[in-house]
Symmetry: C2
Subunit: 228 residues, 2 copies
């Protein structure tokens, strides 16, 4: 793929956008592990571009959605996992320039490299063609995912749904407690217990923050209740 016109043809074909300044897109498609201008600063800008374009779209698409609904819907579109999936769909991994040490990287790290590069590409389109151009590209890339978003009301988080379920039955609220934490300070895993004594339920959840671990524990209790 990396011929003389790299990455102009790929940009035109996959993003439907004709780049004016190819250098900008070369940087967007260059990981910091490779030589030359890389995509770190463009990623900073592109993250903000993507957030605004998606926020604006959701604002109009869900006129009855609360601020919390809109935030949860946006998180479904612009967190690392969906970004990496969109990047893979347009073959970004094949045009991305990586240092030799990074070439064999797999798993989460590769996902995050792809997600960052997709943000950088959005930043490059914004600089090259303005917000309207970025909006066209982002709607082309994310359109199918936006169309498949669930109704906002179904997006309440697990702790809220568990609380509402218990309250509707006149039961006491669940108790959450940290059972233990693992790992170094900057990459801790929290293990939380959620207990609902009145219905004899107890479940564990884990995650990179106490809040995430609690959400997972609440989700497990909900699943047990639903499975009955």
């Amino acid at each position: 793929m990396n011929g003389g016109d790299w990455p102009v043809r790929w940009i035109r074909e996959q993003l439907g956008y004709p780049p004016r300044d190819p250098e900008l897109f070369k940087a967007a498609l260059t990981h910091r592990s490779a030589p030359g201008p890389n995509n770190e600063r463009l990623e900073f800008l592109g993250d903000a571009v993507l957030n605004l374009v998606i926020a604006r779209h959701l604002f109009f698409a869900f006129p009855d959605g609360s601020e919390g609904d809109l935030s949860r819907l946006r998180a479904r579109l612009v967190s690392a996992e969906p970004l990496a999936e969109v990047a893979a769909q347009i073959g970004l991994g094949e045009v991305l320039q990586l240092g030799s040490g990074e070439l064999k990287t797999g798993g989460f790290r590769r996902q995050s490299i792809l997600a960052d590069a997709l943000e950088a590409v959005c930043g490059a389109v914004f600089l090259d063609g303005g917000l309207e151009a970025a909006q066209d590209v982002i709607e082309r890339l994310f359109g199918p995912r936006v169309a498949a978003l669930p109704a906002p009301a179904s997006l309440k988080d697990a702790k809220t749904r568990l609380q509402e379920y218990l309250q509707s039955r006149g039961l006491a609220l669940p108790r959450y407690s940290v059972d233990r934490t693992e790992g170094e300070a900057h990459e801790q895993t929290f293990h939380v217990i959620c207990e609902v004594p009145e219905i004899g339920r107890r479940a564990e959840g884990s995650g990179s923050s106490r809040r995430r671990a609690e959400q997972e524990a609440a989700e497990h209790i909900l699943q047990e209740i639903e499975a009955e």
Copy 2:
């Protein structure tokens, strides 16, 4: 201030922007505790507008700044405290519609209400006049703060600065440990101890996350070292 043309005159005078749709700005200046359309959804949008406009400005103003530098600089401008200060400077508190229960609110809660309303106003300008209009307003509001930003290199966080100080002297890295946590799950305060045994230093820090508490503890040690 709340005459018949509320809030059109205020918007024109304080933001230098002539609103086309006054209803949009009425909503932006209405807290959810007051009746009528409120600013929660506009705040969601405005937060993204502000982030992008500031990101773009920093991108060009600091061509040598790393992604981390740009993120730290942005945080100095768009976190709740500076936003509330800008809101106070333009008298936003006097035109903001609050429910009677909120009128006497002070301290942190009031700061957050003002910050949110300022974001909502940015969202309203964006919807009313587009990104260019929002950019003009934001540069007018934040110009003096942007001009007063420190050089990116001085913005390393406290843990990084402490680590670099110790490494430059061949000393072992600091040890961080959680001493205790206080409060309910959703509003916990973490108390962290930072120890540097080789120089006989020990300091505490607290914050709403373990990371913030560690930063504060590191900052205290740095202050002690600098005070010598």
